[in-house]
Point group: C2
Chain length 235, copies 2
């Protein structure tokens, strides 16, 4: 993919102000992606929850119609026509609720799963690495400070050797965490488009399947049924 | 409509134990209808609320995608392809949200309106009439009691005349409220089937329109669009 900018891993050892400035730009970009993705995640979660609720409410309605026969109506309780009509309604509404359930499952797999993964795994990993990098930078600063203070007194070879050792260890750790952090930020630049498009594609495909399922399997059958009912109700 | 049982209005003046017993059967039947209808009403309200929420959440998602261009992404923010792809997604999802909004409106008019009317107007009217009838029956009992006590003492023509007048007024009122109450209970027997079937028909017709709208206007257009996107994402 051309045109994708990268943080230069090879500059992490030198850790120049230019590199830090570039890191700032990447961090800002990552924060913007993270913020936008969270909003999209929340909107998709609302769609998913509403779809589940719709599916459950449709199923409940169908179940209530099935239970009509079990109600105790002292008058006209054994009305065969009414009873069989409501059973047919129960059946078609149940079929619709199955279509809704299929849609819910597809939304879970093809929309919520990829966007959750991106949010909970990729974006969280970067936050963690940012913290780890911050800690190792602070440790490095502390080690440098201690070394600077020691070197003025020039009185203790052992302490100075230890301080040098500390600086070396801290710088090594900082270098490693910085490389790791840079890698993750670069990877995010590759992933960000897919992370937005994949759940949207999943959403659209689920909706298309739903409409196909509905119009192919249900609509004609329902219209015939409604024609019959409509006529008998008007009588 | 044959086979529908009726409370005999002409028996309200005599108000015999047989009439009271038949009234009891009608009241039990009305309570059962009322209970069943309330359950169905709640299930339909859940469907309606979920459909509204789905419509709102879909609209929000579309709006978020439209706002992608306004986000400040320091890196690759001016990516034309990504931007136009998300605008296309926003457009089709917005069309879907319009279909959802149409469905919501149809459910409001053809499902929620008739079942609410039946619940809030017809069933509530019967409850009110039941109370009014109960009060006038109690008043009648009080008048009868007072008259019985008076007639034993045989001392006051004026008080007796008043008591007779009270009994007459109370009986007249009770008779009127009873006729009114019987009428309403009879009407309910005629209305009860329509009251259940009308919102179900409305629901089904709204769903059929939704699937038609979706499959005719959206599906083909979406599939072409998704084919293009899918190919460019895989690249």
């Amino acid at each position: 993919m051309p045109g994708i900018e990268k943080l230069p891993i090879e500059e992490t050892l030198e850790d120049s102000p230019q590199t830090r400035s570039l890191l700032g730009v990447f961090e800002e970009d990552t924060a913007a992606i993270s913020n936008y993705c969270s909003q999209l995640y929340q909107a998709m979660q609302r769609i998913y929850d509403a779809q589940n609720e719709l599916s459950a409410a449709t199923h409940l309605t169908s179940r209530l119609l099935k239970e009509y026969d079990k109600q105790r109506f002292p008058l006209g309780g054994d009305d065969e026509v009414m009873s069989s009509t409501l059973q047919q309604f129960a059946k078609v509404i149940d079929e619709l609720s199955s279509c809704h359930a299929v849609l819910s499952t597809q939304l879970a797999d093809a929309m919520m799963f990829p966007i959750s993964q991106f949010k909970e795994r990729d974006l969280k990993e970067i936050l963690t690495l940012k913290e780890v990098f911050q800690i190792s930078s602070d440790d490095h600063d502390v080690a440098i400070n201690r070394y600077s203070r020691l070197s003025k007194r020039r009185d203790n070879d052992k302490a100075r050797a230890e301080a040098v050792e500390d600086v070396y260890t801290a710088r090594k750790k900082q270098h490693q965490t910085m490389m790791h952090y840079f890698c993750s930020l670069n990877t995010l630049q590759y992933k960000k488009k897919t992370a937005l498009l994949e759940p949207l594609l999943g959403y659209m495909q689920a909706q298309i399947s739903f409409f196909k399922l509905g119009s192919e399997n249900l609509t004609q059958q329902w219209e015939d049924f409604l024609g019959t009912i409509g006529a008998s109700v008007q009588k």
